[in-house]
C-alpha cells in the first residue's frame, strides 16, 4: 500500500512538473491527463471509488475538449511560437516560493486527524444523500451557474439577432 502510494505520487507529481515545463502545448495537455489519472488512482487508494471514476470522467475525459480549444486558438506552424515562455522567471520563482512556504507551514502545523473507521462499502448513496439534503443549496447554485455558462456560450457562438 505504501509502495503504491509512493509510486502513484511520483508519477502524478512528475507528470505535473512535465506539464508545466514542456514546450509543446499538446504534450503538456497529455501530461495533464496523466496527472489527473494519478489523482484518480489516489482516490482508489483511499477507497473512494466513485470519486475516482468522476475524476477520470470529468477531468481526464474533458481534457480532449481543452486540447481542441488549445490547438484551435494558439497553434502556429512553429511550436516555439505557440507556447511562449515568460521572461519574468525571477518574479514567478518568488511567487511560487512564497506559495510553497505558506503551504508547507500550513501542512506542517495542521493537526491531521487519523480515522480508525472502516471505509464505507457503498459510497454513491452517501454522496447523493449529502448532496440532496445538507448541501442542496450549493448543489443548486452550481447547477444554475453551469446553466448560465452554457447559455452564455450559446449566445456568444450564435450572436443575438436584433429584432426591432
Amino acid at each position: 500500500m505504501v509502495f503504491m502510494f509512493w509510486l502513484i505520487a511520483i508519477i502524478t507529481l512528475g507528470s505535473a512538473l512535465a506539464m508545466v515545463l514542456n514546450k509543446n502545448i499538446f504534450r503538456s495537455a497529455l501530461f495533464m491527463v496523466v496527472t489527473f489519472i494519478g489523482v484518480a488512482a489516489m482516490y482508489v487508494l483511499l477507497q473512494a471509488d466513485f470519486l475516482a471514476a468522476v475524476q477520470i470522467l470529468v477531468y481526464a475525459g474533458a481534457i480532449a475538449i481543452f486540447i481542441v480549444f488549445g490547438i484551435m486558438l494558439t497553434v502556429r506552424g512553429n511550436m516555439k511560437q505557440t507556447n511562449l515562455f515568460s521572461k519574468n522567471a525571477a518574479l514567478a520563482g518568488l511567487v511560487s516560493l512564497v506559495l510553497v512556504v505558506i503551504n508547507a507551514i500550513m501542512v506542517l502545523t495542521s493537526d491531521w486527524p487519523v480515522s480508525e473507521a472502516a471505509p464505507p462499502v457503498e459510497t454513491v448513496g452517501q454522496i447523493a444523500e449529502l448532496m440532496l439534503t445538507k448541501f442542496i443549496v450549493p448543489f443548486e447554485v452550481v447547477a444554475v451557474l453551469l446553466l448560465v455558462a452554457l447559455l452564455g456560450a450559446i449566445i456568444i457562438a450564435k450572436e443575438v439577432k436584433k429584432t426591432s
Partner: protein, 348 residues
C-alpha cells in the same frame, strides 16, 4: 459452462498453494482474467472481420469472400499475415512519441472496459460497486486517443478526423449516460451483478425501451460505426484519424474498434436484455451461452445498421445529438422517476 469458473478456482488454488499472499494471488488472478479477455477479443475480432464481410455482401447481394476455404475463412488468416508483415511507417513530420502510443492507448481503453462485463454468473473480472459508471468513465477516455492519433499524424485528413471524433464522442456520451441512468434507477444499483439480478422477471428493454433506443444510437456514435462513422468517412477523409498508421499499429486501431463494438453490445445485453438470465425459464441452457447468444444478436444488429443506413452529415449529427437525443433522454429519466413513484404508491 461452470468450466470457466472451475478453471479460475483451480488456478487460484494453485497460486495460493504456492504460498503467496492473498493480495498477490488477487493480482495474478486479475492478470489471468486480462489474458482471457485479450484472447476473447482476438477470437471475436477474427470472427467479426469475416462476419462483417459476409453480412455486408449479403446485404448488397454480392457473394463476399468465398475463395479461400469454406465461406472465406482463409481470407481472415491471409489478412492477419498481411497486416503483421507490413512495414511500420511513421511519417517524418509526425510527433513520433504521441503517434506511437496513441494506438496502444486506444486499445488499452477498449481492453479496460471488459473489467466489469459479466459474462455469466460469477464470471466478471471485478464486480465493482460502481460497475456501469466505471464503464462510462473508461469509455470517455477513448476520445483522447482519437485526438492523439489525429493530431500527431501531422496530416490534415487525420486532424479533421480527430476533431470530428472529439465533437461526436463527447456529444453522444451525454445521451448515452442519461439513457443508462433509467436502468440504474430501476435496478437501484450501479453494480453489474445487481442490475442483472434485477432483471430476473422482466428485462429492462420492456420498461426502458426508449432508453434502449437512445443507448443504441449513442453507442453506435461512440464506437464510430456507420451511420456515425464521420471521423473516418472514407469518401471525405480517406481513413480519418488513423490514416497514417500501417501494419500492427493500424491493426491495433481496427481491433480496438471491434473490441469496443463487442463491449457496447455486452453492456446493452447486460443492462437491457437481462444479461445471463434465461428467458421463459429455459434454464437448462447455461447462463454463459445465453449471454453469448444475446451478445451475437446485438452485434448482428450493429452490422445490419452499418450496411443499411447512409452516413449522416456533420451538422445533422450535432443537431440530432443535442436537440433530439439529449432532451429525449432527459424526458426518459423524468418519466422513469414518476413511474417508479406511482409503482411504489400502488404496491406500497
Amino acid at each position: 459452462m461452470q468450466i470457466f469458473i472451475d478453471l479460475a478456482n483451480l488456478i487460484r488454488g494453485w497460486i495460493t498453494g504456492m504460498g503467496i499472499s492473498e493480495a498477490a494471488a488477487e493480482i495474478v488472478m486479475t492478470a489471468v482474467g486480462a489474458v482471457a479477455v485479450i484472447v476473447f477479443i482476438l477470437i471475436h475480432v477474427i470472427l467479426l472481420i469475416l462476419a462483417e464481410r459476409r453480412v455486408s455482401a449479403f446485404f448488397q447481394l454480392r457473394k463476399g469472400p468465398n475463395r479461400l476455404g469454406p465461406i472465406g475463412i482463409g481470407q481472415v488468416l491471409a489478412d492477419v499475415v498481411k497486416t503483421l508483415g507490413k512495414e511500420d511507417i511513421i511519417p517524418a513530420g509526425a510527433d513520433k512519441f504521441v503517434f506511437k502510443i496513441a494506438s496502444t492507448t486506444f486499445f488499452a481503453t477498449a481492453l479496460l472496459a471488459y473489467a466489469v462485463i459479466p459474462f455469466g454468473e460469477g464470471m466478471i473480472i471485478q464486480d465493482l460497486n460502481i460497475g456501469i459508471f466505471y464503464f462510462i468513465a473508461i469509455g470517455s477516455t477513448a476520445t483522447m486517443s482519437v485526438l492523439m492519433a489525429g493530431w500527431s499524424s501531422n496530416n490534415k485528413y487525420a486532424m479533421i478526423g480527430g476533431m470530428r471524433g472529439v465533437a461526436q464522442m463527447i456529444s453522444y456520451e451525454i445521451p448515452m449516460v442519461f439513457s443508462l441512468l433509467g436502468v440504474v434507477m430501476l435496478a437501484g444499483s450501479l453494480k453489474m451483478s445487481d442490475i442483472v439480478e434485477a432483471q430476473k422477471n422482466m428485462w429492462f428493454i420492456v420498461p426502458q425501451f426508449i432508453a434502449f433506443l437512445i443507448y443504441y444510437i449513442a453507442a453506435t456514435a461512440e464506437i464510430n460505426r456507420a451511420p456515425f462513422d464521420l471521423p473516418e468517412g472514407e469518401q471525405e477523409l480517406v481513413a480519418g484519424f488513423f490514416i497514417e498508421y500501417s501494419g500492427i499499429r493500424w491493426a491495433l486501431f481496427a481491433m480496438a474498434e471491434y473490441a469496443n463494438m463487442v463491449a457496447v453490445s455486452a453492456i446493452a445485453t447486460t443492462l437491457f436484455l437481462g444479461g445471463w438470465n434465461a428467458p421463459f425459464g429455459l434454464t437448462f441452457i447455461p447462463p454463459f451461452v445465453w449471454f453469448m447468444l444475446k451478445l451475437y444478436v446485438m452485434i448482428f444488429t450493429f452490422l445490419w445498421v452499418r450496411w443499411t443506413f447512409p452516413r449522416l452529415r456533420v451538422d445533422h449529427l450535432m443537431h440530432f445529438g443535442w436537440k433530439f437525443l439529449i432532451p429525449a433522454s432527459l424526458a426518459n429519466i423524468l418519466v422513469t422517476g414518476i413511474g417508479i413513484y406511482i409503482y411504489r404508491a400502488i404496491t406500497g
